[in-house]
Symmetry: C2
Subunit: 326 residues, 2 copies
Amino acid sequence: MNERVYQPIEAGDPADDLRMFRRCLGQFGTGVAIITTRSDGQNAGVTVNSVASVSLEPPLVLWSISRQSRSFGAFQDAPGFAINILSKDQIELSRHFSSSAVHKFTGVPSRNGHHDIPLLDGAVAHIECSQEAAYDGGDHVIMIGRVSRVSRYSGDPLLFVQGRYVVAADHPDVDATTAANGTSAPPQIAVDSALIPLLFEAHYALSAKFDEHRRAEGLSRTVARILAILQDSPGLTAHEVARKTYIGIRDAEDALAELCLKDQVVRVGNGDYTLTQAGRERREAIKRRWLDFQSEEMSGISQGELNAASSALSKLLANASCESAL
Amino acid sequence: MNERVYQPIEAGDPADDLRMFRRCLGQFGTGVAIITTRSDGQNAGVTVNSVASVSLEPPLVLWSISRQSRSFGAFQDAPGFAINILSKDQIELSRHFSSSAVHKFTGVPSRNGHHDIPLLDGAVAHIECSQEAAYDGGDHVIMIGRVSRVSRYSGDPLLFVQGRYVVAADHPDVDATTAANGTSAPPQIAVDSALIPLLFEAHYALSAKFDEHRRAEGLSRTVARILAILQDSPGLTAHEVARKTYIGIRDAEDALAELCLKDQVVRVGNGDYTLTQAGRERREAIKRRWLDFQSEEMSGISQGELNAASSALSKLLANASCESAL
């Protein structure tokens, strides 16, 4: 927490403002999972972020399905389901299973688990369940699964936080205390060649300061990205905006609606979104501000040092980008 | 997904191996929340990561409480509860409310919400609920809350993934597509002074390659960190190991138990954990491997370039670490 007064950005009764309610819920980060099942000889699958552990003994987990979902009937009738926890490389699969596509499984590599329920390749875990109970949850139904088998795979989980698809990063404080930990945090190295640890530290410090500036301007990452994308590519559908910005489709739609209310974005003839003059001006102001900020951060570094540093980092980048010999 | 064969690291019936079950569940990332309530004039609070959204209309959320929890009775009797979604600066508060401390609220800044339930300062959201239903969930009870008021605050949410406390980072692919987005991703800048974007790119590439190496060695981040910490500070309790490594207490206990089984860690007289000779050797091998790896990555960079780059990055770091003028 910083030292500014601790005051909400927004607050109220969720019944009065569903978008605000969703933004508040989005503060609780989650993984992303595709729940699969098989019923009447047909596969069904939906993307959710409402998975939660429940019990160790007996082993129980839960998730919620919308009563409006086209797959609702399939999940009600099926003897069980599988939770496929997605890896960071599966954003497109996440979008695909949250779309209204009819043949969702075509071309999606999978194997069959219990009850012939498909287990999707590339997931970082499969949690196979028999249906234990289904509880009322308003416009959703809470599905309780008894876990019969679990499988864990290598890889980094995909995360969904504040409406964006993200990945996990070490906590910024971790480096000071476990600098020599042999993880992705800067590993210890002889002082005269400490370029890599220095690079990690500088990255953390700059990221934090960029974020502080953005926040001080009252600018959310979501809105900043949407303005940038619409300036570069005017005339996009909400789905295209979501895809290009790594934002969830519902969050993109919410943000676009808010930007339309502020007259910074407008829907043109075919329904596509584009920046208004006011939107373009806001975007230009943000951009100028960031460029000024960067110049300021680089003050005191001579041109010679800049050139040498750029050359060294370019080589590091080229080395690191090489196909690993593993 | 990389091109190696897609095979599980571990798999089986959760009833046969609770630690494996927990590791599989840990693949689904979550936020961290402290649930607070007030019953019989007493405050109660517990840390959980089992929060999930349920319904928009009516607005419902859920979380689960262990039947063994000392606060179980308080939550059963209370008219409602508040979900305090923690920010990245609240790891110690998370640990505090998952401990067995008796006076958990002493010295913890809060204000009173509905039903005089404490809302903790520094949270990134408060979700105030009246108790709607409580469902059986094996060794836990699933609490359903009807949301009466939400508040959202500035800040980055704390996340818990694969047993570790982490923060969100932009998806690694985001930079290529939205390079000019004015967020923490590298902002666009004139080419002759592109040091900062280059620094961000090099950081991402090196992080990814470090991780790939770690994974190829079958080494989890959790185990790597525990070995490092126990080498630096022999003789620690499980709580001390957890705190110093940013690992959850239960996950630290699980990993220490596994390391004891492998004879790499041993409990000494007073119960503290320390490395065995085999543990020290493994740690040394990991460290050597990382140092070799770094030297390799820096090959082709002259000493002059290294020095200039280190100097430039040091200045960047010093600038970025300055108290912001905001």
